[in-house]
Symmetry: C2
Subunit: 440 residues, 2 copies
Amino acid sequence: MAIKVTVFLFWALFLVQIASAGTGADGKEWTAKNSDPALFNWMVGSPPPENRIIRFEDGTYFQYPQMRWSVCHFDQLMPTKRVSRGLSAPTQLQRAPLDGLNSLTFTPMGGDKPMTWGEAFEANFTDGIVVLHRGRIVYERYAGALTPAGRHAAMSMTKSFVGLLGEMSIHEGKLDEKKLVREYIPELAASAFGDATVRQVLDMTTGLVFSEDYSDPNAGIWMHAAAGNPLPKPKDYQGPRTYYQFLKTVKKQGRHGVDFGYKTINTDVLGWLIARVTGKPITEVLSQRIWSRLGMEQDAFISVDSIGTPFAGGGLSAGLRDLARFGQMMLEGGRYAGEQIVPATVIDKIREGGSKEAFKAAGYKTLLGWSYRSMWWISHNDHGAFMARGVHGQSLYIDPTARMVIARFASHPTAKNAKIDPTTLPAYHAMAKHLMTIEQ
Amino acid sequence: MAIKVTVFLFWALFLVQIASAGTGADGKEWTAKNSDPALFNWMVGSPPPENRIIRFEDGTYFQYPQMRWSVCHFDQLMPTKRVSRGLSAPTQLQRAPLDGLNSLTFTPMGGDKPMTWGEAFEANFTDGIVVLHRGRIVYERYAGALTPAGRHAAMSMTKSFVGLLGEMSIHEGKLDEKKLVREYIPELAASAFGDATVRQVLDMTTGLVFSEDYSDPNAGIWMHAAAGNPLPKPKDYQGPRTYYQFLKTVKKQGRHGVDFGYKTINTDVLGWLIARVTGKPITEVLSQRIWSRLGMEQDAFISVDSIGTPFAGGGLSAGLRDLARFGQMMLEGGRYAGEQIVPATVIDKIREGGSKEAFKAAGYKTLLGWSYRSMWWISHNDHGAFMARGVHGQSLYIDPTARMVIARFASHPTAKNAKIDPTTLPAYHAMAKHLMTIEQ
């Protein structure tokens, strides 16, 4: 009960928002226009008017449409740990802008009317999108609270960064994918993770009592969020006080290694594994192995719990072009600007994908035939496209055949990508096919 | 009473630390060596051992020697607002390292035994120091938790950045130094600041009921800190809830425009004035006018209160070399890398200094003959040196005659610079005189 009260204290308004996602207080459907942060002047003024103030502690930051501002300002709302770009000059992304891309048409999944790329930008509450073709920017557009020099929450795309670091640790022999989690983290021996292999954690085929259903106030994801909330816990709070403490409480359900089940806490275990075997927080590993080596334009950061543990499952914020740079490195088999940043075999292993059978069990209607591997989403389409994905429309779409990378940040009122995929995935594929017709 | 309780809740351990500054729990005098963060492994581990965890909420972050770690990690402890460097390549500081500087000797104030520059580095709990001569790095050294790619709390050096922005606003006609604060901020009309001029605020010659005595738990500085604390306020908290709300409560004492009295809240009023006339938070003004124009290596950031107000009086954290770059621009009359960043007349006005008579009243025994102008400390020595200064040993020392800039971050157990000046100011002057003998 104490835990429930606390969860409500921290997240009540978030829950209300989730419950009513898709409509404003006046019952009107939210649109990119009527939810535009510029309309509301959030946090503008000295001081801002009371009804324009966005706070972390009362949950207003994740109400809609406030969320459209918050996703670009998490560092101002909570403590964060930097992912340093280092001190060198950023690499320049070349530009080869193409005209007319906004009129490119595609047919949304389950629809019969064509939609244009420009219409999709609005319909998907896009905050920013960059399309790279052969490494050059052919399209770049911003909206909402995002600017080229700003940063945006990556949400669960964070997982794909951590998954890549996990695979790199395996490649280097620091982690053995066949070993059990408890061999690295004895503290997890009595939890569901104790007898799961590193591979099962990486591919989310662990059998866990854990609900990711945001609409259920008793769902594990809320307990996890309450544990990781960096604010002081209420006096009567009896639950776990950090991400790690929460992970120790997770119970097993069924068998490991059978079905894919998308559960954020697997990534937090992976983050723990990486921290344990490298002796460094994932922010530092990510900086050393990726961020400082791609000539990123901006530092990134990851939100932390009360003892400084980065939220591996979803805490990253980064610049849009830097997300695109990362995608380009993934596209090029781990190479970037003439250097091998990640071993090609690591990228190959991810692109190969996981078990389609295991994936099917999760019942994603917009991702038929896909699989999940090392915290990446693999389409297995004829272009070999693969993705990092995050709630509210975050996506990094990599199409090796078309030599195209799409980096997209968004603040859709709906968390679930099932509602967003129909107007994004076909748009991405249409862009890929279009670019393949172009001589550059 | 409610306020007192709250202040204790937030700051109790800080007070304990202040009260016992200079000695460890075992009664031994703190030294740079026995307080070295590397000895304690603060926040190292997954999770760190309980006695190695540093938290904001319980005040451990400002206990000694934890503070030596915290000063480099404020973004991980509290919400912060970025001061963006922009996206361009950093300017390179040229290097012309000089040998033997560690053996340079000087005589500490009030002492009779000479001390070496190297000894002073240790004695002053230096976390990092850069000496520029003619714009080139002749000496650069790090210790504690600071690295070249890290950032450190500037403490009250923040004020000098804000003071400069204030002078720039005056130069541009956005602020009139003769006008009363209430003409810009009617909300302050009933406070002590209402009938103070902008100039009096800039030079801290306001007459205020406000104590900056850290050892007094009822001092205004603690009420101010409690108001600005971004954590949720306790239920029984009745005091002001933001920096701005606190400023409105400040009562007048004596007359404005007579004596200098170092009171942090003047800078918070100046920050408010700048935000009011520019329509932007000082973080953004600082980014646009300074940070993005000096080719800084790193973003800086400023801590914020619960409504996102940057702490103008002391919230800045920045890289050491970036502090040096800023000093070099001040040295060169507002020019940097061939561009006029700040009008030369603005720099001249600051360097001219304020009233020595007004300054004398404050009774700084280590700063005889100095004055305070626009949030800068002016030595009026024969080199025309001037400084930005912050508690626990932060200093930016600019010597136009020697064409020398010293940027220094530190984490001395004592807050007051009166204890630190005797082994720093003579060292800086000795370095200046030494550099003047060198052909470069």
